[in-house]
Amino acid sequence: MSDFAQHLINGVAAGTIYALVALGYTMVYGVLKLINFAHGDVMMVGTFLGYGVAQKLGYEHQSSLWGVLAIFLAAMAACAVMGFLMERFAYRPLRDKPRLTALITAIGISFTLSYGFQLDFGPLPGAAPRAFPEIIAPREWLIIGDRAVVIWNWQVISLAIAIGLMLILQALVYRTRFGRAMRAVSFDHRTAALMGIPVDRIIALTFMLGSALAAGAGILYAIKDTAIQPLMGLYVGLKAFVAAVIGGIGNVPGAVVGGLLLGLVEEFVVGYSSSSWRDAVAFGFLIVVLLVRPGGLFGRVAAEKV
């Protein structure tokens, strides 16, 4: 029983990270219908930036409240700028071109970032993993029994941030002018432009928001798993994408639910079946969900107008 509870906690913790990364995927997809393949790598870059800032701050300051805020804000701001540049120079010129084109560009950016960060000259970090500093000092939040089940403070913090972000994003999308404009652009950006919506600005802002989210998610991920390395974006990005699709890509609560579900499914496969089939089961779960609900759990397949 206690290990069931522990698995549950592990699964939620892992799912939280998937959910956070999936949120960024889903935002960008919602507006541009673009699978931003480089999203995971933006996350990786953000994490390395956070790491750099933490190193600069030094051991004393990095775990103070201001230090943590500085790390998060610096990484998120830098990634927002990066997202803006990516959108401006790599995606915007292709907006009216076939969607696959932008996907290939995204793949190109992904390769450049992930392999580029494996280089070991100049300021680039090299391929070796780095230990991410404990900017949130790990503390047991809840202990049940003789350490049979342990919940850590950062697990609670991450989950709270994920759910908080989901609510904020949901409110942003459905309660603000910006959100209304986003939905309009998502529906049909040409018509939206005719209605006087500044389409370029909305898309750029969405991209910046998504990239900043990725950076935040990356740092939380680094706090959870304590190590960072250049290819991390590839794996987490793929899983998060799967999570977003399970939830119904383009749907904000769907991303969070999808992420949590995926985390739990993986966890329980390992816990009660064989760990070597974990990835197969994760993808199998995705396929089953899609075959039963072709638009994901919360998504709807738009009926084609005939």
Binding site: D3, Q6, H7, N10, G11, A13, A14, Y115, Q118, D120, G126, A127, A128, P129, R130, A131, P138, R147, A148, V150, W152, Y221, K224, D225, T226, A227, L231, M232, L234, Y235, E266, E267, V270, G271, Y272, S274, S275, S276, R278, D279
Partner: protein, 399 residues
């Protein structure tokens, strides 16, 4: 206009490859006697007036880039030292390194290029056994000697008589830790956590499980993870349920994370592993969680042997980091090669091969290397205990 662009791009790509082929097909102008791709034994390939060209293939990018880069650094260090000491037979040594993106097909292609285009004298590398095997499949038919620095699967050197290695093979290292766990630590219940995507990890884990069971121990849990994953809590929670005395984790840098997460989950079992642990990252990633664990290795960094201390100091000075076991093996592979070239009567590849095969009691960083008739290195292993920021010698186990 569009077609012109397409045509230009195509021809550029073709021309780049094509011109290299033409450039290197005729014998290099300074070569004493031309060795062409088709007849490797015809002259003294890889040797020009004042240089000897060696080749290396490594994973400089991709999932195994960490290992490839430290190997490359160490080989570079070795070559630098040799050249600083006047080279070999009056010639300087040059090394050409190709990346294989951690994939066998790229490794085969790189080896092919080294052999047939660059005409290297011999080839060094690789870490991953599948990549080494792909290279060996190309080196053996061309009769080019190859020394693998860290491929531990027995199959690698079985490919042919031109293929050597300077590291342990899986059966030995798996046995070392099983014996240590059983005899020295007196453990009976051990769990195994292995990397599903790594042949090294699989090989060690298989042998460990078998040997440990033969010795009367019990494997109480078997879990796996995949390359690139960073969350091991689910496996560890499952292992915790079986309450083992120790967990055998033949892996690389993942071990730091695994140790931390194990302690976080309240897993108190001892951790054990293989030479893949040996890296400065062990302490950085593992922190205090890794203290008190054991792993088998080629040498002990606190060995007062000046050879070892000099290597560690030089590597630190050159690359700013502490060498890992792969670096040490890379260094030894290069040194064994140089030693063989020195001993060989000529620069003929067959002669070099014979010289390598006769390597006996070579004083390497990773121990005294003797190549047996299966072209594998036989040397004793040491077991180290992880302490605060450094390791401590515990035992030596002979083959």
């Amino acid at each position: 206009m569009r077609s012109a662009l397409a045509a230009v791009l195509t021809s550029c790509a073709l021309a780049l490859v094509g011109c290299e082929k033409k450039a290197s097909a005729p014998p290099p102008p300074s070569a004493p006697s031309g060795g062409t791709a088709a007849a490797p034994s015809g002259g003294t390939p890889g040797v020009t007036g004042d240089t000897i060209l060696l080749g290396e293939v490594g994973s400089l990018t991709g999932s195994e880039a960490t290992f490839g880069i430290s190997t490359r650094n160490a080989i570079e260090l070795a070559i630098r030292e040799v050249n600083a000491a006047g080279g070999v037979k009056g010639k300087k040594i040059e090394i050409r390194v190709y990346d294989n993106q951690s994939k066998p097909e790229e490794a085969a292609q790189a080896a092919n290029r080294l052999i047939n285009q660059d005409n290297v004298l011999l080839i060094l590398g690789e870490v991953a056994s599948s990549n080494s095997m792909a290279m060996a499949e190309k080196a053996q038919p061309a009769k080019v000697p190859m020394i693998s620095n860290a491929s531990t699967n027995p199959k690698v050197t079985e490919i042919g008589d031109y293929i050597f290695r300077v590291c342990f093979i899986d059966p030995f290292q798996g046995y070392v830790m099983a014996k240590f766990a059983h005899d020295n630590l007196k453990l009976t219940k051990v769990a195994v956590l292995r990397d599903l995507g790594s042949a090294y990890s699989q090989g060690l884990a298989d042998v460990f499980e078998r040997k440990f069971t033969e010795m009367g121990g019990k494997i109480v849990a078997r879990e796996t993870y995949t390359k690139g994953s960073t969350d091991f809590r689910s496996q560890l929670t499952a292992i915790k349920r079986a309450s083992p005395d120790a967990i055998y984790i033949p892996g690389y840098n993942d071990i730091g994370l695994i140790a931390r997460q194990a302690r976080e989950l309240g897993v108190t079992a001892k951790l054990m592993g293989g030479d893949g642990w040996d890296s400065e990252k062990l302490f950085e990633l593992g922190g205090s969680a890794i203290e008190g664990s054991y792993f088998s290795n080629h040498y002990s960094p606190d060995d007062p042997n000046p050879r070892i201390q000099k290597f560690i100091a030089d590597y630190k000075a050159a690359f700013g980091s502490v060498p890992d076991s792969l670096a040490a093996l890379g260094y030894d592979a290069a040194m064994v090669a140089v030693d063989a070239i020195k001993r060989a009567p000529s620069f003929d590849r067959a002669a070099i091969r014979d010289a390598i095969a006769q390597t006996k009691n070579f004083p390497g960083v990773t121990g005294t290397i003797t190549l047996d008739d299966k072209r594998n290195a036989t040397k004793p292993a040491v077991v180290l205990e992880v302490g605060k920021g450094k390791t401590k010698y515990v035992a030596t186990i002979a083959p």
